[in-house]
């Protein structure tokens, strides 16, 4: 009998790397970025992917203040979800450490891994630089 597995290879390895300040993305020979798990570039299909260091910070492109969440995050509301541009890749994360009205496009944010209030699960978090 196989026990349930809660770890997602590739994705959790990537979160581990962010947590260790060794964040990375996958780059193909054409300069496209993507995130693991990935066997080929999502943009052009190139199979040769190399790990490249993720930029220390990214710029918020768009964000929302979530008031109605899934049960897994109901005790976290209201929270901010943002998409931030890190150059070759964008990341989606929960933005903490900023009042909603202070969040603007191009806000410089640093990625980290924290836990959610509701379940204690790991979550990608952005904090203003």
């Amino acid at each position: 009998m196989v026990d349930p597995v809660e770890r997602n290879e590739g994705y959790d390895d990537w979160l581990d790397a962010i947590e260790a300040d060794e964040g990375f993305y996958l780059e193909c020979p054409n300069g496209h970025g993507s995130l693991p798990p990935r066997r080929v570039c999502t943009h052009c299909g190139e199979p040769e992917l190399t790990q490249q260091p993720l930029a220390e910070s990214g710029a918020v492109e768009t964000h929302t203040v979530v008031h109605v969440a899934t049960p897994q995050l109901e005790d976290d509301t209201p929270y901010i979800t943002a998409i931030a541009d890190f150059g070759p890749v964008r990341l989606t994360g929960m933005l903490r450490g900023a009042e909603p009205e202070s969040v603007t496009t191009n806000l410089d944010v640093v990625p980290s891994v924290e836990t959610t209030e509701t379940t204690g699960n790991r979550v990608l978090v952005f904090r203003p630089r």
């Binding site: 997602n8 994705y11 993507s34 995130l35 999502t42 492109e61 768009t62 964000h63 929302t64 203040v65 979530v66 008031h67 109605v68 969440a69 899934t70 049960p71 897994q72 995050l73 109901e74 976290d76 929270y79 979800t81 998409i83 890749v89 964008r90 990341l91 989606t92 994360g93 929960m94 909603p100 496009t105 699960n121 979550v123 990608l124």
Partner: protein
């Protein structure tokens, strides 16, 4: 190549029916469609069926044979799951089968039971149409995803929440006389602007409701319709499909929907029409910003210019090109797996002249339906025309 005709349509009332089983909802819609078509039930050669969250809401997978059982059919079935574009996808594949001569009579439809999950459960179920690892775990809900797109739209093109309020007001007005609509009540711009926020800037009245319901259509070849004396005056003359990256963060655009661009281009070319030929459209307005993105992708407006179309009265029932005369997902309701064929059923009624709002488009000959999955990672467009 045979031309595909819509021989009959059937709908359940869309609304809150948490104790009704999905299987029974589908039976109601499908039997109504078969009756409307006037076809012998034994002539139906297959069921193409859309459903999204059966496993989560009803602990029910492999829904196709069960849906066929409920209609008294012993035919091959296929279930299509493409999030909110599930039954639109089913219809497209049925059209292809009819065109290539694989069949002459097909039943197409979809069902969703959602309210038995409660708001939290339905929100969670809907979220699985996004990328679980990179979006849902970061707190993205579906209202949240469209809020991110809306904020990006405002940033790039401008427009206001008040512009979008007019989309909601319009679609509620359109639903007033629709006997199948979930919300048959008008709202005001102030109602919209003062309503609670779901995921800023998306408010309660920007959002479609959680809906239980089913829809079905009977598609036939024109040869079958003629040989059997069917009154099937509405033809599906164009079909198209587009795709995009699953996660918003991987997309080229946050404030445009290229999958819908591609689906529309393919469907228009298939039908031999241009956007200018379209008299009316039923589009996937799961959120008010989604209607704006749809009418821009369908070529009715340039990118960034559609947000105040309702406010200017161009897409209202008395406008140049009415959008969502059924009430749309916003007011008619959005039982996810049923929405694609519901749009086709409503467009058929509008063009046939037996929809409560047909009077707004009397003389119309060309309608378009637009069904989107997820944050428009999947899009299906169909062109319907009154056969001459």
């Amino acid at each position: 190549m045979p031309e595909v005709r819509v021989a009959g349509v059937g709908l359940t009332p869309f609304g809150v029916h948490p104790e009704r089983t999905g299987r029974d909802l589908f039976a109601e819609a499908a039997l109504a469609a078969i009756d409307d078509a006037g076809v012998d039930r034994t002539a139906i050669e297959g069921l193409f069926y859309g459903n999204f969250m059966g496993e989560l809401a009803e602990h029910q997978g492999h829904y196709g044979p069960l849906a066929a059982d409920m209609v008294g059919l012993d035919v091959p079935t296929i279930r299509f799951e493409s999030a909110c574009a599930s039954s639109g996808s089913a219809a497209r594949e049925a059209v292809k089968n009819l065109r290539n001569g694989e069949a002459d009579v097909l039943l197409v439809g979809g069902t969703e039971r959602m309210n038995n999950l409660g708001t939290g459960g339905a929100t969670e179920a809907l979220a699985i149409a996004a990328d679980d690892l990179y979006e849902v775990r970061a707190g993205m809900t579906f209202p949240g995803a469209y809020a991110l797109m809306q904020a990006a739209y405002h940033e790039e093109y401008g427009g206001s929440r008040e512009d979008l309020a007019h989309v909601a007001v319009k679609n509620h007005d359109n639903a007033l006389d629709n006997e199948y609509a979930q919300f048959r009540k008008s709202i005001t711009v102030d109602d919209h602007l003062e309503a609670p926020m779901i995921s800023e800037p998306v408010g309660l009245y920007d959002s479609c409701p959680i809906t239980d319901g089913a829809s079905a259509i009977v598609l036939v070849s024109d040869n079958y319709a003629e040989a059997n004396g069917l009154d099937a005056q509405v033809a599906v003359t164009g079909t198209g499909q587009g795709g995009d990256k699953m996660a918003l963060q991987d997309r080229d655009y946050l404030a445009r929907t290229p999958a819908s661009d591609d689906a529309a281009a393919e469907a228009y070319a298939d039908a031999g029409i241009d956007a200018e030929d379209v008299d009316l459209a039923e589009v996937h307005d799961c959120f008010t910003i989604a209607e704006v993105l749809a009418i821009e992708s369908l070529g009715f407006y340039e990118p960034g210019t559609g947000i105040d179309a309702a406010r200017r009265g161009e897409t209202t029932s008395d406008g140049d090109r009415p959008i969502n005369l059924s009430g749309g997902l916003k007011a008619k309701g959005h039982p996810v797996g049923a929405t694609g064929t519901s749009q086709l059923a409503e467009m058929t009624r509008l063009l046939r002249g037996d929809h409560p709002n047909s009077g707004a488009v009397s003389g119309a000959t060309t309608g378009v339906t637009h069904n989107a999955g997820g944050t428009v990672a999947s899009a299906i467009v169909h062109v319907l025309e009154v056969a001459t």
